[in-house]
Structures are given as structure tokens and as C-alpha cells.
């Protein structure tokens, strides 16, 4: 086939015009005017966080009501946890450090899913390595199972013998100063995201 110079010219002109036409639309993608304000997942509407009463590392009775006025970060785990719990607790400790004076308005509560091994003394020692302000909570297997049920938390024993593990929900519940369960931060967020959300909850 012989190329017709006129046709080629026309096609080139068409291409050029098309690109000009398209370039008129090039801008950055419309950004998120409707994105949620928190980095965590948000409950809407928020309801009161289910109450509990457990044995604590700082007092014999850990309840949420005791910490009204503070933002409570509630998480579940076990002290023999190899990776998830140490990461979460280190992240929360860093977040508290990043909050400066506002850290006094934040309370971390760590509820065990392994009462068999996690005594109050064992939890106290474990948590002190991350942040001495953290509170551990334990109780009877039935009491702990009831708390997990209220929060939709799972904990499944894996393995046998002394070195068993517990597969457990790794998210962190964010409870505001009025005791409402406002949000849930999935595992894996960095301290800056917690700082952001805690500041938001302290202000709102």
C-alpha cells in the first residue's frame, strides 16, 4: 500500500487535536472531600462501649467507667504473643510519647485472651517494658469470653503443650472521653495515625 501524504497529514492533525482536547482535562484527580476524618474505621452512629469489670494490673477492678474523661485504647492479646502484641504495644507506647502532655488523657487497656498463663503479675511485668501507664486486665475464662463477645473479638487456641499460641483479633478499639466506641484501628497502622486520631477524639 502506498502512503498518501495528504492522508498522513490529516491523521497527524487529528492526533494532535485529540491530544490537545484531552490535555484540557488533565488535572490531578479530584481529592477526597468525602474521606472520613479518622485514620481508623469509624462507627456511625457511635454507641457506648460495652462495659466490663476485670482484674487489673493497677487495681483490682478495671472498668471503662473509671476512665471517663480519657480516650481509651482497648486491645486484646496475650503476653506470649510473638509478633502482633509486641508490635501493637510498642506502637501505642510511641503514640503516647508523640502526644506530649495530651498523653495523660490517654489510657491503654490490654485485655488478655490467655488467662491460663497471663497472671496479673506476669502482665504487669510484660506491659511495663512498653509503657508503665498501660493497664492489663484479666479474669476468669468465662468473664473474658463475655467481654470478647461484646466486642466481636475472636481468640482461638493453636497448638498444645506449654508453647501454645492464641490467634486473636488484633485491632485496637478507640473509645472517646464519654465512653463511646468511636472507631477501630486495624493492626499495622503507625504511631502517627494513632496520634492523629487520639488528638481528634480528644477535641471532638
Amino acid at each position: 500500500m502506498r502512503l498518501n501524504p495528504n492522508r498522513l497529514r490529516n491523521h497527524a492533525a487529528a492526533l494532535l487535536l485529540s491530544l490537545l482536547f484531552a490535555s484540557a482535562f488533565i488535572t490531578t484527580p479530584a481529592d477526597a472531600d468525602v474521606r472520613p476524618e479518622l485514620k481508623a474505621g469509624v462507627f456511625n452512629p457511635p454507641y457506648m462501649a460495652p462495659e466490663f469489670s476485670l482484674d487489673g494490673t493497677k487495681s483490682s477492678d478495671v472498668t471503662l467507667a473509671r476512665y471517663r474523661g480519657k480516650v481509651v485504647l482497648l486491645t486484646f492479646g496475650f503476653t506470649n504473643c510473638a509478633a502482633v502484641c509486641p508490635t501493637t504495644l510498642a506502637t501505642l507506647a510511641q503514640a503516647r510519647s508523640g502526644l506530649g502532655k495530651a498523653a495523660a488523657s490517654v489510657q491503654v487497656i490490654y485485655v488478655t485472651v490467655d488467662p491460663e498463663r497471663d497472671s496479673v503479675a506476669r502482665m504487669r511485668e510484660f506491659l511495663a517494658a512498653f509503657d508503665p501507664s498501660f493497664i492489663g486486665a484479666t479474669g476468669t475464662p468465662a468473664a473474658l469470653a463475655a467481654v470478647r463477645k461484646k466486642y466481636g473479638v475472636t481468640a482461638i487456641k493453636q497448638g498444645s503443650g506449654r508453647d501454645y499460641a492464641m490467634a486473636h483479633t488484633s485491632s485496637i478499639f478507640l473509645i472517646d472521653r464519654a465512653g463511646k466506641l468511636r472507631a477501630l484501628m486495624p493492626f499495622g497502622h503507625d504511631p502517627a495515625d494513632f496520634v492523629h486520631d487520639i488528638k481528634f477524639l480528644l477535641a471532638h
Binding site: A32, G41, T169
Partner: protein, 163 residues
């Protein structure tokens, strides 16, 4: 006018007309492709919504198998990057990564492209995967995204859902 001259004029006019039509069509096609490849993707909502309909619990209790959440959810940063789960039933449901009260919704934003796995007791394998893909860049990626969206809308029926 002589008949042979008229014929010649009509032939020339016809050729010109075909040429102009071809140019117009090329312009339209190239313009369309150019637009699809380069124009920003504008979305009215970032939410990817999944709902538990009213009466789900009762229907389940009656032995009906109800599937709502897929095992894998695909999201795209900057476009549909907020997983919105809503419970319109009368009882609390474990839905995806959390427990959601009746009438409540849970809105989970994603800020990084990655594959996320959540424990989800509603699934047989106990896991919900959320694959978050990066925002399609101008050019081939946007063109491909629009093509996939269009072909999904035209050809595909909704994926089989499991809750």
C-alpha cells in the same frame, strides 16, 4: 451542465465526503481514547458499600444461605478506598473486621496500596482479604481502569458473595 461533468463532480464530492467522515471518526476515536487515558477519574463517593439487609438473621435462622461479603474485595486508592459496611438488620452482626450494631455502619479508609487480611468469622476460611491498588496513573493505567470498569458494567454480573 453536461451529464459526464455532473457525474465527475459527484464522484469527487463523494470521495471528499468519505475522507471528511474518516477524519471526523478518527478524531472522535482518538479524542475518546485520549480522554479515557488522560482525564482525571472523578468520583462522587469513595465508599465501597456492603449492606446486611433487614431480615438477614431471620432468613439465616430459617436455613437460608445468605452471602453478602466476597472473600476478596478490590479497592483503588483515591477512587473507592473506603470500605463501608452497614448493618440494616435487627441484630448485631460480625461483618468483615468488626461487630456492627443494628442500624450502624462502619467506615474503614485505606491510605496505602497493599493486601490486607482481616479475621472474619463469617467466612469459611475465617479471613477477609482487601486488595487496595494504587491510583491509576494518567495514560495506560487510566485507560485500562476505565476499560475494566466499562467491561465489568457491561458484561459481568455481580460476583458471588459470601458473608
Amino acid at each position: 451542465m453536461r451529464p459526464h461533468l455532473l457525474k465527475l463532480l459527484m464522484r469527487v464530492a463523494g470521495r471528499e465526503w468519505r475522507r471528511l467522515t474518516a477524519i471526523a471518526l478518527s478524531l472522535l476515536a482518538l479524542g475518546g481514547i485520549g480522554w479515557a487515558a488522560l482525564a482525571p477519574i472523578v468520583v462522587t463517593s469513595h465508599d465501597e458499600l456492603f449492606e446486611i439487609p433487614h431480615g438477614t438473621y431471620a432468613r439465616r435462622m430459617a436455613g437460608e444461605k445468605i452471602e453478602i461479603l466476597p472473600h476478596t474485595i478490590h479497592l483503588t486508592l483515591g477512587l473507592n478506598d473506603v470500605l463501608l459496611l452497614r448493618n440494616k438488620d435487627e441484630v448485631p452482626h460480625i461483618f468483615g473486621p468488626t461487630l456492627i450494631m443494628p442500624g450502624q455502619s462502619f467506615s474503614l479508609p485505606f491510605a496505602q496500596a497493599s493486601t490486607y487480611s482481616f479475621q472474619c468469622t463469617a467466612h469459611a476460611n475465617g479471613q477477609l482479604n482487601v486488595i487496595v491498588e494504587p491510583t491509576p496513573a494518567p495514560g495506560w493505567e487510566r485507560l485500562h481502569w476505565r476499560w475494566r470498569k466499562l467491561s465489568n458494567a457491561v458484561w459481568h454480573s455481580p460476583e458471588s458473595h459470601h458473608h
